[in-house]
Symmetry: C2
């Protein structure tokens, strides 16, 4: 196997990169600067050393605990539960949330063999027991699996009536077109309609 | 900038990778094995050292000259002129061509500031003068720029009436659907119709 084919085969193992685009990227790397290739190569080789999961919340971090968990200005009464570490970054980038996070690492998905025992709910319960949360925002994805996980968390927290459980609003995306909305989104959007 | 954002910014400079997929790939690399990341990192860092353009034909190679140019079993009477090094690999993978190649490195595109002087036609002419070609296949892309380049080559070779000039057939792609063919492809396909 030639070096280009070898590189393309490695690249094709990344998400969203097929065989054709892996080859295209390999060719483009031959035309990039030595400096860029060296920077990218080093960054990929060392990413696992530098970035790991925060032992407290489970999001990606370079410090222990992560920047959010160790930030004294964050609201320690609100906990936002998400599926993946990248969801933390997405919500952080909105700039409207100032509480803490908890990353489950996935959602309950019996078909894929992911049960509640795989998502470390004991760790979540321990955090809630030891913390002083007044609100838990369940920000799992608006999917079958995310909804199941949300229901499971509601069930888990049935002994904490003093904690307000909330869920991210589902509905039409801003800038979207009613005509192109799928039926499930439209249904949620109608059921969750608010007074205007 | 965090290490993930740094990696994502580097990845977003590759063709076909936007900001979102660059982040997605960065996250996925955290979950890949150390071994994979190290292999991919090294391969990217060293690709420019290992692969360069063949001094004879201009295609990507790890040897000097490339495997095609140095293969004594190739037909040295036929030369296939392509735009990019990757076109050589595409044609090679079809397995139906046994002649030599010449890579122009692009196509004439006045709007992008690419004129004939940028494509090393003197090198092509020198090869033709010194070689013993009986056929030159112009395999530039079936685009405005590729067609212009093909016409330019025909003009360049007007003093070689003994060399047969050919061009790759254009028409409906195999497995394609007439209904979805664009008008230009259909026009070419009709004009170039063959006896059945």
């Amino acid at each position: 196997m030639s070096e280009i084919e070898n590189l393309a085969a490695l690249l094709a193992q990344l998400p969203g990169i097929g065989k054709k685009s892996a080859l295209r990227i390999s060719y483009s790397l031959i035309n990039k600067s030595e400096e860029y290739n060296s920077l990218l190569g080093k960054s990929i080789s060392s990413i696992k050393e530098k970035v790991h999961k925060c032992p407290v919340c489970g999001s990606f971090t370079e410090t222990d605990p992560c920047a959010v968990c160790s930030d004294p200005s964050r609201d320690r009464a609100v906990l936002c539960v998400v599926e993946q570490p990248q969801d933390v970054i997405t919500i952080q980038s909105s700039g409207v949330y100032s509480g803490l996070f908890h990353v489950l690492g996935g959602a309950i998905n019996p078909l894929a063999g992911v049960g509640p025992e795989d998502l470390g709910f004991d760790k979540l319960l321990k955090r809630i027991k030891e913390g002083s949360f007044t609100e838990i925002i369940i920000a799992t994805n608006p999917t079958e699996e995310g909804d199941t996980t949300a229901l499971y968390i509601r069930h888990l927290l049935r002994d904490y009536p003093e904690i307000t459980l909330t869920r991210l609003a589902s509905g039409l995306p801003i800038g979207g077109d009613l005509e192109y909305a799928d039926i499930r989104t439209l249904t949620r959007s109608l059921r969750g309609r608010i007074k205007f």
